[in-house]
Symmetry: C2
Subunit: 367 residues, 2 copies
């Protein structure tokens, strides 16, 4: 792969690795007998959505209504907007449904459920359940569940949960326990709603770690992992990805040698890599990313982006030889901590595939 | 200011505060008898550039060549690209100069200086000097200075430095010392070049803290602060801004109450606010921003965005009353940690001014 003429910083996507990740996740869900509704907050790209759907995904998940519009305008019909909606956003959701989009929204409170139940255009809604992540959602055993279900009435489409706390441990046995909590909580909420005479077609759960390590998906109808399409150093750090699965990287140039400070400077800083340093909690020293050879993605041993300023990445050297192996003007590829955050700074991906010229895939950023 | 119909999350810019910040900095530089070349990596907006130029700025500073193109295409001629250039980017710089842009570039090494000296289109270049920030630049007293100067020859336009380490302390006496190091280093480098028979028209320094607190600017020709146009909680934390100067905020909606966890959820998370948590080093507990009343920007006492997920901001409550004062659907404005990083997620600003309808100003993101 000749990257000599590719400008820096650029966001590179390895298509073969992407396709392998997408196929492996589909196979995992097929084996469990449930659907896959990838969370496209990571990729924000219709090309990635099409690949996932081609491999078997029955719908998609989005994190903004702007994404919902974009995917629907590009032919995707079955869309779950998985961030709790508020009344002020319902007209935007209704407008999409009126145009034929099978959009479903999410709530965890009676006030919003009332607003949803009252819209002229019927809006289908899932109830968000907290299965330990302690972000959004009500307790599966709590009284609010049935109140919200009854308020939604015929507009109740199901329940959903996200075990975000699966990102908090690298212990696979613990991730398996979290996956079971996630599953059991969603299924229990569905059972309670059904026992109260309410319909609950969709029982949706998922995160990448619980998708990778969970063993029992009984009672779920679908899973919603997101970052698995690209993977990243964080997922490697918590044992939910192999390093060779990492499909996303940032191409950067060496723009300076600060021999007094003992550092190599790159033109990829806090904007090009993001300021997410999450992987360090599980893998201290990884900084803002691994500095790799551009053609092979082999790690330049010992070299990490230790600090970032807006447009500068700072790489401490391990020996004076690093100045020789990475002369000014040399290119490197950086494997990032958190693919979702890194990709968000770019308008598009440069998509690399063996024996093919690079192509560009667009992204839908913002709100 | 009625923000009821404004979508969330949105990036709000208070025009009166912006204008006050711009005027105050211009007055400061006028009093020092040197020029102001604002670093537009913060605002990335032609409207902000025009305001600064109208108040007296003689040129602008940019952090990407994309910004340079954008500002030149919108009528700004005198532009300094203040991130070390590499040979591969010289054709892009030359193309702008051929179109009439008075673009100046920056280097700190002989290899790049040779490439600059060899371009067909003459490219003017400043030598970057490290005055303690230990990011890019050579030492003012080091041997490389004259080597680079001689290599550039007639293309040498001056010297520049940035005391980035002024962000590392809230001690005003220490910031004053750093400001003097920044000034003295740049001036010393210029003197050495001139003593060697080289011309050195531009002697450029600057950061917001050293602009605010520096007392002596003798020998400098210009200053390049950036974030002062908007200011942010980080600058407040290091005593380089008053809270009432903060011109940038994020409008968000309350999307949930997690009464089990004791949190209020906002629809502004790691993308809408950025993951920059820098202010906490000087002001522990500020998290990802202060939660304020939307109309007045009064802080909802005790409420901070303590954690962010991609599209969720998590605000721990101080008492159960917080659920009443911030019901689901309520709007808040969040004062961010680091204006440069927060603004980068948005395509445009919603510009608020007393007794005027809001307008939109665009931004130039990416590379």
């Amino acid at each position: 792969m000749d990257l000599t003429a590719t400008p820096t910083p650029s966001l590179l996507l390895d298509r073969d690795r992407l396709e392998r990740n997408v196929s492996a996740m589909q196979a995992r869900m097929d084996a469990s007998g449930i659907g896959l509704r990838p969370h496209l907050k990571t990729a924000k790209s219709i090309d990635v959505a099409r690949l996932a759907i081609q491999k078997g995904a029955h719908g998609v998940t989005v994190s903004t209504l702007k994404e919902a519009r974009y995917f629907f305008d590009n032919g995707v019909k079955d869309i779950l907007y998985a961030v709790g909606i508020v009344a002020g956003k319902l007209p935007e959701a209704a407008a999409l449904i009126e145009r034929g989009c099978d959009l479903k929204v999410v709530t965890d409170n009676v006030d919003t459920a009332k607003a949803i139940a009252a819209t002229e255009t019927p809006i289908r809604c899932l109830i968000e359940v907290d299965t330990g992540g302690a972000r959004a959602g009500i307790q599966a055993e709590g009284p609010e569940l049935l109140d919200i279900g009854k308020t939604l009435g015929a507009r109740l489409a199901g329940v959903m949960t996200h075990a975000g706390h699966s990102y908090g441990t690298a212990d696979i046995a613990e991730i398996k326990r979290i996956a079971e909590d996630e599953r059991a909580g969603a299924v229990r909420a569905a059972e309670r709603l059904r026992a109260a005479g309410l319909s609950c077609d969709i029982v949706s759960a998922g995160s990448t770690p619980t998708a990778i390590h969970g063993e029992n998906r009984t009672g779920l109808t679908e899973f919603r992992p997101g970052v698995y399409v690209f993977q990243d150093l964080f997922q490697v750090a918590i044992n939910s990805s192999a390093r060779d699965d990492l499909a996303l990287s940032v191409l950067a140039s060496v723009i300076g040698h600060n021999k007094t400070a003992g550092t190599i400077l790159l033109d990829a800083g806090g904007l090009a890599l993001s300021k997410d340093s999450g992987a360090n909690g599980h893998r201290p020293g990884v900084g803002y990313g691994e500095v790799c050879a551009p053609e092979t993605l082999t790690h330049h041993a010992g070299l990490f982006v230790a600090d970032v300023h807006q447009e500068h990445g700072i790489v401490p050297i391990t020996s004076e030889d690093d100045y020789t192996r990475l002369p000014i003007g040399a290119k490197v590829r950086i494997l990032p901590n958190h693919a979702c955050m890194t990709a968000a700074a770019y308008e598009d991906y440069i998509v690399l595939q063996a024996d093919q010229p690079p192509t560009r895939w667009g992204r839908i950023n913002g709100w």
